[in-house]
Amino acid sequence: MPAPDDWTPRSDAYFASPLAQGTPGKQCGLAATGDYQPSLRSPWLAAAATVDVKKVARELAKDDGVVFSEDYVYMCSDPGQTAVIDAIKDNDLNGMVISCCSPTLHEKTFRDASELGDLNAFQCEIANIREQCAWVHSDMEVATEKALKITRASVRRVQHNQALEPIGVPVTRRALVVGGGIAGIQAALDMTDAGLDVILVEKQATIGGNMLKLSETFPTLDCSQCILSPKMVSVSKNAKITLMTESEVESISGFVGNFKVKIKKKAEFVDPELCKLCDDCTPVCPVAVPNEYDVGLTNRRAIYIPFAQAIPASFTLDEEACLGLDPVVCGKCEEVCDVGAIDYDKKPTVTEEEVGAIIVATGFDLYGMEHMGEFGGGRYPDVLDGLQFERLCSASGATEGHIMRPSDHKVPKEIVFIQCSGSRDPENHCAYCSKICCMYTAKHATLYKHHVPDGQAYIFYIDIRSGGKGYEEFVQRSMENDGVIYLRGRVSRVYEKDGKLKVMGVDTLAGRNVEIDADMVVLAQAMEPSKGTAEIAKILKIGRDKDGFLAEAHPKLKPVESVTAGIYLAGAAQGPKDIPETVSQAGAAASKVIALLSKDQLAHSPTVAKVRDPYCTGCEMCVDACPYDAIALVDGKASVNEILCEGCGSCVGVCVRAAIDVKNVTQLQIHEMISAIMA
């Protein structure tokens, strides 16, 4: 039976039929072709699949609401974008879909182009037919069919997209730096140079971090403390830096430009303002505990100063070790302190600070020696890790720079360095390369020879990785000038025999077993994220990679950004790196923050939740579900704080009344997408 001319499917007045509905006006599906055409541009593409984009464009042109559909090579190129802009203008489009690569790559590109064509950026959507289709399917027919579905779904979605404008958010022009190692120090100083106020939070009693423990630095062999101390002093003298040692970030709320951070500071039993550094207190303290600064090679008292040049320059009281918090038991140090700087009744404090951006520079720890049982790690006092050896070499160390065995204080004459200890061993230890060990082991061997000219240094290695300015030359020098013997191969076992450490190894180049009676063994332990990295990542809601290091937002293009806007990464917390690299990254993170906070307002994504008032009954399920405390009841109905809302949709998922939607990802849009896919 023929349909009357004016026929459209009828429906209940309140259920407009999908055929009859749809935003009046025009939509456009642009199918872009890229380098995934059946050209054999890359060796992958021969095996990889392809999408017949011409067919996609042709089919889409027939769909309701689509007025323009075309394929184009390199849509993201300048002429490609010009074509997009022209298409919008020529066809007076009110929605656009670009079928191309992942939106993470070019959503912004095409949304910017939309704006240039006078189409609201949020009315442009990307259909990912490359990463999620062309590159993963080998059958052209099948892949094309799927690409059609993906594109159709996007077209149906965009038909219901609202034009949106970014939400302006005021900015707090202060930054927080978590971690007071060289990365944190550098970032803090750089930011103050740009006029920002900085809060520097450090867990330990002094800033300086691991770099403080180093003797000399490769490849120039300049003294680590000599180059670090001035920076530490700059921090303490800088009026724009609020330094909070023995402090940790407890919680965070808010969002980029407007974080609220709760910082917990341990009880300040010794008032740094009053402490004169007279050192009357330590002699009376009856407690001795291993000194962290000397990596346990020496002891310190419960009341102590980490080292003479500590910043802040003050003694501090180790709450856990001290007996005297109960004055009945001890209380000796308080008695001898003339200035009355000591007060056992101090309590921890929690302060809330508002900051606009955060740099996380929580650094590294060495992979625990207790894991290296086969090398006698943690068992024999003369098997040391790299940092312990640094302390032996350091003039400020327990031995005042004399290399001697911890066990009997004899100078080691035969010393073995084992590289890749705990690294590059996915079965048993860390899978990754710790990157700096080749260099510092060469440095250790060189320093050893400088201290013990008649000694012999051996280095077991797998590969020598000495990429870096002057690095390769340094390694060569250690071999040629200092006679360090490099043995390519692994050590199977280290054990004690007759006061010597028997090192059982293999020289794979010579093809023979090697047995060395060493006086000392130094393990180039892998670097791992510092203890507490997992906690800080959880608190700040930033991701970690499979090895536990903080995850950057993009491995190549966003190496200092975390996945959370306004939080940046610096130093070894993000991955093993040496000092120059750490300093560069800290500077980069600082400049990101400076750029971010240079604006008066930040643009917050407008794809936030919106309550459909008539449907809301105020049951508060969304209020409970919202991870950002962005929803509150106002006059018995849920109300969204758009600045706090991140658009996650947790509220949508729990609302039984469908009374809340995330703009441009509404339930209607998802329904339409499901329909399009299943059609």
Partner: protein, 343 residues
């Protein structure tokens, strides 16, 4: 045509109707309802009354009017008139039987509904007289019916204990009996006397009275603006039980069910609708002329006892009592009519 059918021969007759789809009441899920009878042996006529009425055989819950799709941008409609097999329904109670002519009138008034009649014309209703009321809510006699009313039925059976008295009321009914003629015996005088006695006894059971139906109609007309309706509907929950189960309620909704939004493929579908639903009279503007439960109760009662009478000279209620028995909150149409009548 009047015959006697022994209990054992009932299955023979049913089996003889093998070119038809046969339905009869079955007790399943703790309710009696019509179910397909595959073989005569399955038939059980010990039922009270079915929960659903017989109307659904001509006016199903869902009726597809036509399919639509777009071909090269042009809408194409394909009609889908139902073409059912001849259908025989056993065990229809006289109240349900009386409902069918009322539905026939509606679907044949200004417009002959082809979908209804395509099914209705294939339908043979075999009634079973009620020897006693099934519930205190049976009131067929109060609305002009009787426990053995033949109106609307093609055949009326009367249970005589070990055997049935079977009367062909219409030509269609007689034809259905002819098909199983071997199963039937002649009616003796004793049989005849017993049928009359059973019928008389069934009429003698007391049923709740309604009084003068004309007076009720008048009372309803006068109480249109009465606050009584809201009061009586105070506990109504606005569900569709009373009308969906009613043998004479016939309101429907029409929707387009789109199957494939890309091709615009779909069906236009008629489904039952219900004057007790809040959206039944909702206007696009948001205004609802029957926005409260009282006005909806008034509509249901007025339609049955006033408007239908005005249009078709008979009540649109056959006294089956389902709306009373099944109402979750005890709304009782007899009590409602009593109160309206007294006001």
């Amino acid at each position: 045509m009047e015959k006697i059918l022994s209990q054992e021969k009932l299955r023979e007759w049913v089996d003889a109707l093998d070119d038809c789809e046969v339905y009869a009441p079955a007790f399943a899920d703790s309710v009696w309802n019509f179910a397909r009878v595959k073989a005569g042996a399955d038939i059980d006529l010990s039922h009270t009354n079915t929960i659903g009425s017989v109307k659904e055989f001509a006016f199903p819950q869902r009726e597809v009017f036509f399919c639509f799709e777009k071909k090269d941008g042009v809408p194409v409609l394909t009609p889908t008139l139902p073409d059912p097999k001849p259908t025989v329904v056993f065990g229809v109670r006289p109240c349900d039987g009386r409902g069918m002519p009322r539905n026939d009138t509606v679907f044949n008034k200004e417009f002959e509904d082809p979908y209804y009649w395509a099914r209705r014309n294939k339908l043979t209703l075999v009634g079973l007289a009620c020897n006693q009321p099934h519930s205190p809510n049976c009131f067929c006699q109060s609305v002009g019916g009787s426990p053995h009313a033949e109106e609307g039925l093609d055949i009326l059976m009367t249970d005589l204990g070990d055997r049935f008295h079977v009367k062909g009321v219409t030509a269609k009914g007689v034809e259905a009996m002819e098909r199983g003629r071997d199963a039937f015996d002649a009616v003796s005088d004793a049989d005849q006397a017993e049928v009359e006695k059973v019928h008389a006894t069934s009429r003698s059971h007391s049923q709740r009275p309604l009084g003068n139906l004309d007076a009720i109609a008048e009372a309803i007309r006068e109480s249109f603006d009465s606050p009584l309706w809201a009061d009586m509907a105070q506990h109504c929950i606005g569900c569709g039980i009373c009308t969906f189960l009613c043998p004479t309620c016939h309101c429907f909704d029409i929707n387009d069910e789109v199957i494939n939004p890309t091709t615009g493929e779909g069906e236009r579908v008629r489904t039952w609708d219900n004057c007790q639903f809040p959206d039944f009279t909702m206007h696009t503007s948001g205004h609802n002329p029957r926005g409260d439960l009282g006005s909806r109760l008034r509509q249901r009662v007025s339609h049955k006892f006033l408007y239908f009478v005005e249009n078709h000279k008979t009540q649109q209620c056959t006294g089956c009592g389902r709306c009373i028995t099944e109402c979750p909150v005890g709304i009782d149409i007899i009590a409602v009519l009593e109160r309206v009548g007294q006001s």
